[in-house]
């Protein structure tokens, strides 16, 4: 006799669990979510770091949940999810006191719906800024913007919120390869980041911006091939096409809105309730057992929001898996997406010298800085990080995100907090003691490099700091292997129908009936609001003949 019974049981209460739980409950299935940690939401979390009343996003920071179907389907705004859309967007500052500043080409004009409109004024401003470095690059920006608007954007959204197509059937982005008018040159799909940067741009500034941004948005280094999905994504961001967006109250507000929407429909969640295994009857998933011994019946289905290794090798440890599958699961690539990541609580905002180049500088939610050295960023950067722990002095490519400018919830009145990011090696390259030492020492390195661009970023300005390392991340979550923030590298070979292994890329568990997997270990990769849970739900809709919510809502995907 089970201790509790639900139609649908979700293993793990991460971000995608909170999304799919809404869809399942809304489709009429009584749903229960079981989470190991003390809060649900996984990477959509928040903590008062590095000091009380300063709010940090310790995992996901840049989010566009308003682009996710769940935002609209469940009216998440009503449950407290409130985005603000700053005027500023992307920027990159160089030591010679020049800088790139981008202006949003498609700003959100209606926060309720997330509806965007093309802004010719902003487009022209960005064009002029790029033209200060290269007229040719500015023309390339115009060329990309036209295609982005006409086809790439919609293709990107359809791709993100649709399950992968089988090999040989082009997905919405692959369809662009054969569009002569507004298409995407397929050679970029196979090039690495350095090659794409060189092929698209001639100026060092734009190439550096593109290569640095690859790391932030995909976790890959410039030497990695990224594929059409990441290239389109990256261009939309670095060229400031998409609105910058800030969640009021930080990323955890996304979780709260999803959980509260779920709770309002009668769904139930359980924290500090680690799942030990999935219970099977023959080849059918029928429930779960918790680490405390309680058994939960799943009358219809079980969905795992864990990574593939945990789902297959731990939750289904009693199932005989093919040797080749086990081998592949053990060899999923996790050597990318490691970062030093955390906030410094400050008395005052950085005062960038390059404001003389563009007075708007400093008001960007995502501001990069780094030396004008293409070869360094292309090759030596990764090599120094992997061997020394962090780049040599003066060679850091820092990212600074000063969200407290736009969200008063993030810092006490009159104070500020800025998220800093620099890349890091996989966890196994250094010992626990070495990581802890780096955690203590890195802020000093970061400040020294920051002072090159903004001289007031001295220790006197710092109230507190807590920069997380891959060691911190590994403590956070067993699925974030090697201390990376994504469940599995996000390079080309780990995309769509191959993510994370071809055998489990379609959200169904091979040889186990009524069991699914919805985590970002599958298409469409890691990051808040991406599509794995929505796509997994589409498979469940198909199998259980549930109402097709996207048809009711008149949505293409």
């Amino acid at each position: 006799m089970a201790d509790m019974s639900f139609d649908a049981v979700v293993v793990g209460g991460g971000h995608h669990a909170t999304i799919i739980a809404n869809y399942l409950q809304n489709a009429g299935l009584e749903t229960g979510v079981f989470e190991r940690l003390q809060e649900v939401g996984g990477g959509a979390c928040g903590d008062e770091l590095p000091a009380p009343a300063f709010l940090q996003n310790p995992c996901a920071h840049f989010t566009r949940m308003f682009g996710n179907p769940a935002y609209h389907d469940f009216n998440l705004r009503k449950f407290g999810l409130h985005y603000v859309f700053p005027e500023g967007n992307e920027a990159m500052v160089f030591p010679d006191e020049s800088c790139f500043v981008g202006y949003t080409a498609f700003p959100v004009v209606d926060p309720d719906t997330g509806r965007e409109e093309f802004s010719n004024k902003n487009f022209k401003k960005t064009y002029d800024e790029i033209a200060r470095f290269s007229k040719r690059d500015a023309d390339m920006y115009e060329w990309i913007t036209e295609r982005y608007e006409k086809r790439w954007r919609m293709a990107f959204r359809k791709y993100r919120y649709s399950p992968p197509t089988p090999w040989g059937v082009p997905n919405p982005l692959e369809e662009l390869f054969t569009d002569d008018k507004y298409g995407f040159d397929p050679v970029w799909h196979y090039m690495n980041g350095i090659q794409v940067a060189r092929d698209l741009f001639e100026s060092t500034e734009m190439r550096l911006l593109f290569m640095r941004a690859i790391a932030t948005s995909s976790g890959s280094f410039p030497v990695d091939a990224m594929g059409v999905y990441q290239v389109v994504h990256m261009l939309g961001l670095v060229l400031s096409m998409e609105s910058a967006s800030i969640v009021s109250g930080g990323t955890h507000a996304i979780t709260h809105s999803l959980q509260r929407s779920f709770s309002s429909m009668g769904g139930q969640f359980f924290v500090e309730s680690e799942v030990d295994k999935v219970l099977l009857e023959g080849d059918r998933a029928v429930g779960i057992r918790l680490a405390n011994g309680a058994e939960i019946e799943a009358r219809k289905l079980v969905v795992s929001d864990l990574g593939v290794p945990q789902t297959m090798l731990r939750m289904l440890r009693d199932t005989k898996l093919a040797d080749r599958l086990v081998h592949r699961i053990k060899n999923i690539d996790y050597d990318r997406a490691q970062i030093f990541w955390g906030n410094v609580a400050l008395h005052e905002l950085p005062d960038y010298k390059a404001k003389s180049f563009n007075p708007d500088l400093g008001e960007q939610p995502r501001l990069y800085m780094g030396p004008k050295d293409e070869d360094y960023l292309s090759y030596n950067y990764m090599s120094e990080i992997f061997t020394q722990g962090f780049p040599s002095p003066g060679k850091m490519f820092l990212l600074a995100a000063p969200d407290s400018i736009w969200d008063k919830n993030r810092a006490p009145e009159g104070k500020h907090t800025i998220l800093l990011e620099e890349f890091a090696a996989p966890l196994r390259f250094f010992s626990e003691r070495e990581w802890l030492k780096m955690k203590r020492e890195i802020v000093d390195h970061m400040l020294k490099d920051w002072q090159i661009y903004a001289p007031n970023m001295t220790w006197d300005n710092v109230i507190a700091h807590n920069i997380q390392t891959p060691l911190d991340v590994s403590y956070r979550h067993p699925d974030m292997k090697e201390g990376g923030w994504a469940e599995g590298a996000m390079m080309l070979s780990m995309h769509d129908r191959f993510r994370p292994v071809p055998e489990i890329a379609n959200y169904r568990i091979p040889d186990v009936k009524n069991m699914y997997i919805c985590s970002s270990n599958l298409h469409s990769c890691g990051g808040i609001g991406r599509g794995s849970s929505y796509n997994c739900f589409k498979k469940i809709v198909e199998d259980f003949n549930l109402p097709k919510i996207w048809e009711e809502k008149g949505r293409e995907y």
């Binding site: 940690l37 003390q38 809060e39 928040g46 903590d47 008062e48 770091l49 590095p50 000091a51 009380p52 009343a53 709010l55 310790p58 449950f79 407290g80 409130h82 009021s248 109250g249 930080g250 955890h252 507000a253 709260h256 509260r260 709770s263 309002s264 139930q268 359980f270 924290v271 500090e272 405390n292 008395h347 919830n409 006490p412 802890l436 955690k439 109230i463 507190a464 807590n466 997380q468 060691l471 911190d472 991340v473 403590y475 956070r476 979550h477």
Partner: protein
């Protein structure tokens, strides 16, 4: 008709408590929370290294054995959550530099044996006092905690009707120091019990609140830890709310309580939303916030406004250091007393009675003194609060909000220095807490408390000082002592109401009772037997 019957401002323990009772009574309740997380002081956070849970505000749960909540919702709690408490034994231990220890155990006889090492006389006194204070708790203090206050004259008359009441009245004019010194002769025994009495900010020489001393004496053997962290208790209450159709929305700082025709009708939030209530608004905030900032003086009578403006913040707040540790703390004195490793609340740095007094005097002057503190290692009792084999630690040091040298702003500059000072002292008792074993530390100053919880102004974690004119029927003042306010349909339920602060699970309960009475709401919960008994005895 508005969507909600009642709107509660602030989703801290008292807001959640009022909500839990009223939502189950069938009312649609909305809680609006300013912070990114609900639960108020019931917070547990990953603020050093992920998966290390630190109870960043409330940790020592004082009234688990008496609060009606745990009985009233027993059935639901079993269904939705495995809420568990740990009651470590010994509960409190004072360790001296010479490695002698003095412990308060759950069992008074064991405590007496510990005291006897310092004074046979004090040991006998303790056994008698403990029995007497337990009776005070059962017969009067606990039931009175979950019962609205009586006006002073009425309370006095009622208390005169019974021995326990008369005893407590005799204690009332005495200061904690006078009571402790009257009871005990040994200075270390005095230190431990004066600390226990003043742990929550009661002034050691304040006369007029002596009846709190038996409470704190008794509680010294009764603090508990929430398994998985204090926030788990907030989760339980939030789930009770969701289950009964209620909702929490945040971050939503409220900017205005809308008054129409003398009646509280709805609230506006800083981000431009308006929420209306069919029946009532409840504020769990401090009196300044509720009445001066949200209602506005225009809607207050001048007497009432004066009383609110007179409200006094607390003089003593806390400085905390949270630690993530690679290994379990090894207490030097544990060689002599192995029970030390089982202790819940350690008291370090008070080698003399005078040191404790000097510390408190320094705080009054706004000075920092390299003195004592209490310290706790939750993972020794609940390993689930850190990854396997790892540990958490906490230093809680009394400290002033306003520093004589530099004011409150100065806390930003000296936080690390003061943390180092505390850790250096700690190391003399627990040598293996050092640079090699501290993975990370997280500091909370009184200024941080003020920043983090806007209602705890100047670090006032009880929303206002414990002074004779701010306690009992005068909390926050006689015009809104019974949770209703001079404004129709506006209620208060925070720590600024009777009986006061810390996680008593009382104010919100009492407010729910009052609201249920005022709106003719059928109470699904029963009056606790202890209250019925106290009423029969004429004490309540």
């Amino acid at each position: 008709m508005a969507e909600y019957d009642g709107i509660i401002i602030g989703a801290g323990p008292n807001g959640l408590l009022t909500a839990s009772y009223l939502a189950k009574a069938g009312l649609k309740i909305l809680l609006l929370e300013r912070r990114f997380e609900m639960g108020g002081g019931l917070c547990s956070e990953h603020i050093t290294i992920p998966s290390f849970i630190h109870n960043t505000h409330a940790i020592y749960m004082p009234m688990v054995d008496y609060a009606p909540f745990f009985q009233d919702f027993k059935h639901e709690m079993e269904e939705i959550s495995d809420l568990k408490f740990i009651h470590p034994d010994p509960v409190m231990t004072l360790t001296l530099q010479d490695h002698r220890t003095l412990s308060v155990y759950q069992d008074a006889e064991r405590t007496a044996r510990s005291i006897a090492r310092f004074s046979e006389k004090d040991a006998r006194t303790y056994v008698n006092a403990a029995a007497k204070f337990k009776e005070y708790m059962d017969v009067f203090i606990a039931p009175a905690t979950y019962y609205p206050p009586h006006p002073a004259m009425e309370a006095m008359t009622k208390m005169k009707s019974h021995d326990v009441g008369r005893d407590l009245q005799a204690l009332q004019p005495m200061s904690p120091r006078a009571i402790v010194e009257e009871l005990f002769e040994n200075e270390h025994v005095r230190t431990l019990f004066l600390y226990a009495s003043c742990m929550w900010g009661l002034d050691y020489d304040l006369e007029g609140l002596g009846f709190l001393v038996p409470l704190y004496f008794n509680r010294a053997a009764n603090y508990r830890l929430v398994v998985g962290g204090s926030h788990h208790l907030a989760h339980v209450m939030s789930k009770l709310l969701y289950k009964n159709g209620g909702m929490i929305i945040g971050p939503k700082p409220v900017s205005k309580i809308v008054i129409e025709n003398g009646r509280a009708k709805g609230v506006e939030t800083e981000d431009g939303y308006y929420y209306e209530a069919n029946k009532f608004i409840v504020s769990s905030l401090n009196p300044h916030q509720t009445f001066l900032e949200l209602v506005g003086e225009d809607h207050l009578g001048s007497d009432f406004a004066t009383r609110i403006n007179d409200w006094k913040w607390e003089k003593t707040s806390f400085f905390h250091v949270h630690l993530a540790l690679t290994e379990s703390p090894q207490f030097k004195a544990a060689e002599k007393n192995p029970d030390l490793a089982k202790t819940f609340i350690h008291l370090f740095g008070y080698d003399s009675y005078q040191e404790l007094i000097d510390h408190y005097d320094a705080i009054r002057r706004g000075e920092l003194r390299d003195s004592g503190f209490n310290s706790c290692y939750p993972t020794l009792h609940d390993p689930s609060q850190a990854p396997a084999g790892k540990h958490t630690g906490l230093i809680s040091c009394h400290a002033p909000y306003n520093l004589a040298d530099g004011g409150a702003e100065q806390w930003y500059d000296i936080r690390d220095e003061i943390a180092d000072q505390c850790l250096n002292k700690l190391r003399t008792y627990v040598p293996n807490i050092n640079e090699d074993t501290i993975m990370w530390r997280y500091i909370t100053t009184p200024k941080d408390i003020h920043n983090k919880f806007v209602d705890m102004r100047e670090g006032s974690y009880k929303q206002g000082a414990y002074l004779p004119l701010q306690m009992g029927y005068l909390r926050p003042n006689e015009l809104c002592a019974e949770y209703a306010t001079p404004i129709k349909d506006l209620y208060i339920c925070g720590s600024c109401t009777y009986p006061g602060g810390t996680i008593l699970m009382a104010n919100g309960y009492n407010a729910a009772n009052r609201i249920a009475d005022d709106y003719g709401i059928q109470k699904w919960w029963k009056k606790p037997e202890s209250i019925a008994r106290a009423e029969e005895l004429g004490l309540l």
